[in-house]
């Protein structure tokens, strides 16, 4: 269970754009250079982002991409879903068998388990907006994010993670 680089690159690239003034288009060439991601790969990723209405493109000289919506209206979940196969399509059997076709869904425990996991992940990623991540440059905000998401963890895990110091400066 891994997040693909495509999804991770997409989030990084969007964050990069979000750190620029609202109406300034950012070229892929610039993102490629700053983030160390292949330009050609970025182009591919941005086709998905554009179709998903996360970004708008401005062609021509000094063109580039801007966010299509307010940062507070774009969630990490939305971005990730555009670039990765969804977790919730995996039934308890092969991944080619969609959840709804599961041959034993009615009596299948795995079904419920993986579905709940998918809901948990989507819920978490949908609860975090680009705006959250941008303001997060300051430590006190990072902390509040940490506490907020920590609230979602089961007791066992919560206990273990709480005493940890902040990782972000």
């Amino acid at each position: 269970m891994q997040i693909s680089t495509k999804g991770k690159y997409a989030v990084r690239a969007i964050l990069n754009i979000a750190h620029h003034p609202k109406e300034t288009p950012v070229s892929l060439a610039a993102i490629s250079k700053e983030e160390g991601i292949s330009l050609l790969f970025l182009e591919q990723i941005f086709q998905s982002l554009r179709k998903g209405e996360i970004v708008r493109s401005l062609r021509g000289a000094h063109g580039g991409y801007v966010l299509a919506r307010d940062p507070s209206d774009i969630t990490i979940g939305e971005i990730v879903r555009l670039l990765e196969p969804p977790l919730y399509t995996s039934s308890c059997f092969s991944k080619h068998e969609a959840v709804d076709d599961c041959r034993i869904a009615d009596s299948c425990l795995g079904f419920v388990l993986w579905k709940q996991l998918a809901e948990l992940v989507d819920g978490f990623l949908d609860s975090i907006t680009i705006a959250d991540m941008v303001t997060q440059a300051r430590p006190e905000v990072v902390y509040s994010l940490r506490v907020k998401s920590n609230r979602m963890l089961p007791e066992k895990a919560r206990k273990e993670t709480s005493p940890e110091p902040l990782e972000v400066v």
Copy 2:
């Protein structure tokens, strides 16, 4: 982001064993037949499960596998981790770069994000034991599991999932 069939098969196979009387060994041939999973593939999976001390093997005629520990002491998370690359090793860049080596961890927002996601997932999977899943054959118990895990979801997702009927009979 997908769970591999290996992980899903492992959980199913363990559940199958858990449904048999405590000391009766269950052969892979039987599991293969009942669950429709290739015998050779099961053998491979069970090597990992044995090394991870989830099951014990009993060789010879009428042999097979039994759980190495009490079902209430085996979590889904443990099983999944034995068979899949861990989510938390993926930094915000390539998956080959371990979290601890992340070149910009200090100032990296993705770092915090993916790490928290990994903690969430592990927390969820570690909160569910094989014993939970076995008793879950009865609806009222399913419901309690649902409520329990639902508690971990952020508000937005919680609202959406709550009214749904139970999927399991």
